[in-house]
């Protein structure tokens, strides 16, 4: 069970609370988590990754276990603490704008 924390606008878009849990096959990866997230909440499709390139959007970051995982390969296994549910996987909207 993977715990996922989304930024405000994506929570509002999907109509969900501050943290959700997802069933993702072992070993969980960024790609598998986002795939499952989009499958369960279709309104989020394309909001985290550009749908044409499947790359992380420039103003999105992935954090977990006090580390920035944004530049890890999408198919790299997530930290064990995320895989076990001890720590959440954070999808972050970059701080910017007015």
């Amino acid at each position: 069970m993977i715990r996922v924390v989304l930024p405000y606008h994506l929570r509002t878009l999907a109509g969900i609370g501050s943290e959700i849990t997802l069933d993702v096959a072992d070993p969980p990866t960024q790609q598998a988590v986002i795939d499952e997230l989009e499958a369960r909440y279709p309104a989020l499709s394309g909001t985290i990754r550009d749908p044409s390139t499947m790359r992380r959007r420039p103003f999105i970051r992935f954090f977990a276990c006090e580390e920035d995982l944004s530049h890890e390969p999408p198919d790299a296994p997530l930290p064990a603490a995320v895989a076990s549910g001890a720590e959440p996987f954070y999808v972050i909207g970059a701080m910017a704008g007015g």
Partner: protein, 371 residues
């Protein structure tokens, strides 16, 4: 009883304004999608309670929302806007080749007869179409792949398809306008396109009367006279009486012929509205006076409409998609400002009232006349 619904897209959400046929009192709902840019909303003429909205941010990309109940509730639809084939390049601001990259949908134009068919004008400039109510979108690539496409260059706001006109006599006849490429026409449902910019002169490009490269801000027409088109260009207000094949200037006695929106009266095909802006460098009304100008003779002779509009210290702008007309009698005229006001006139422009103030920067206004 008849009524009017205004669909107001802003930089921080969507708002829906409703009134009865007297158009004296307005109810405001929103923000819908608070914090998101709503470049445009459009209702289906065939099913007015079906409304499409273009929702986007730089963080999370593009979404398309659809309402079946006049804007009370919404459902996210398909948001994959993929260019057909290998996109190639257009010119960047510095003149170098730049790959076509989808940024957002500027304008949605629903079919007059089929609520599931909608055209979407995109940045970087391309035309998309859905025939399943927004579930999926496909590019009409003949526009972007036009032989002149590699020479197109963005305006300061981006290189966007911002205007889409469907001919009321033949839905296969389409006009689009692109900043800063110009105006294009298709007679075969968007498969092939012809640049129609003859008569335009633009001092800001090396060849003032080039085939493409003109910063057309908006085109419009009256449904009873589809051969006549009106254009607000970067500078110059223009008119064509042959479906865009040839244009002539009708700026006449306007205090400035720079501006963004242009609209036509619902019942008088020769009555046209513009909002003059000081210049391309000063995006606010001349003398700090917000004046809509109306020509009742198809251009050249214009009268200022000021009753109810601020006539001092007014330094806002009215963007290209932020003016709309209802079809009651007398027709209503509406526009939204970058200062967050929506003004309305229930007497074809003779007098105005603010319908709502202090909204975010208004990007678009559409008017639906309800039975």
């Amino acid at each position: 009883m008849s009524g009017v619904r205004l669909l107001v897209g802003t930089a921080k959400g969507a708002f829906v304004l409703t009134s009865d046929g007297r158009r004296a009192d307005w109810e405001v709902s929103g923000p819908h999608f608070g914090g998101w840019e709503i470049y445009h909303m459009a209702g289906s003429p065939a099913e007015p309670d079906r409304i499409y909205a273009s929702q986007s941010t730089g963080w999370f990309g593009q979404l398309i929302q659809r309402s079946e109940d006049g804007g009370r509730s919404w459902e996210a639809m398909g948001n994959q806007f993929a260019y057909d084939g290998t996109p190639g390049t257009h010119q960047w601001y510095d003149g170098t080749p730049h790959p076509w990259e989808f940024a957002r949908v500027w304008h949605l134009e629903p079919s007059a007869t089929d609520p599931d068919t909608v055209y979407a004008g995109a940045e970087d400039a391309a035309l998309f179409k859905t025939t399943d109510g927004g579930a999926s979108w496909h590019e009409l690539a003949g526009l972007r792949t036009h032989r002149t496409g590699p020479d197109w260059q963005p305006g300061a706001g981006g290189m966007c398809v911002h205007t889409i006109l469907i001919d009321p006599d033949d839905p296969d006849r389409l006009h689009v306008a692109i900043s800063a490429a110009g105006t294009f026409r298709s007679d075969d449902a968007g498969q092939t396109w012809e640049p129609i910019n003859r008569g335009l002169r633009s001092a800001g490009i090396p060849d003032e009367d080039a085939e493409v490269g003109h910063c057309v801000h908006r085109i419009t027409r009256h449904p009873d006279r589809p051969d006549t088109l009106f254009m607000q260009k970067h500078w110059d207000v223009m008119r064509s009486d042959d479906r865009g094949s040839n244009w002539r200037e009708i700026s006449g006695d306007l205090p400035s012929d720079f501006g963004f929106p242009i609209a036509v009266h619902a019942h008088e095909p020769d009555t046209v509205y513009v909002v003059p802006i000081t210049s391309d460098s000063l995006h606010y009304p001349p003398e700090g006076k917000l004046r809509v100008y109306r020509s009742r003779v198809g251009g050249e002779e214009w009268e200022p409409l000021t009753r109810g509009l601020p006539q001092e210290n007014c330094y806002l702008n009215v963007l290209r998609d932020a003016m709309a007309i209802d079809s009651l009698d007398p027709c209503g005229v509406y526009f939204g400002t970058t200062g967050g006001e929506v003004y309305g006139s229930a007497d074809a422009g003779d007098s105005w009232q603010p319908l709502v103030r202090n909204l975010p920067r208004v990007l678009s206004v559409e008017a639906q006349t309800l039975a």
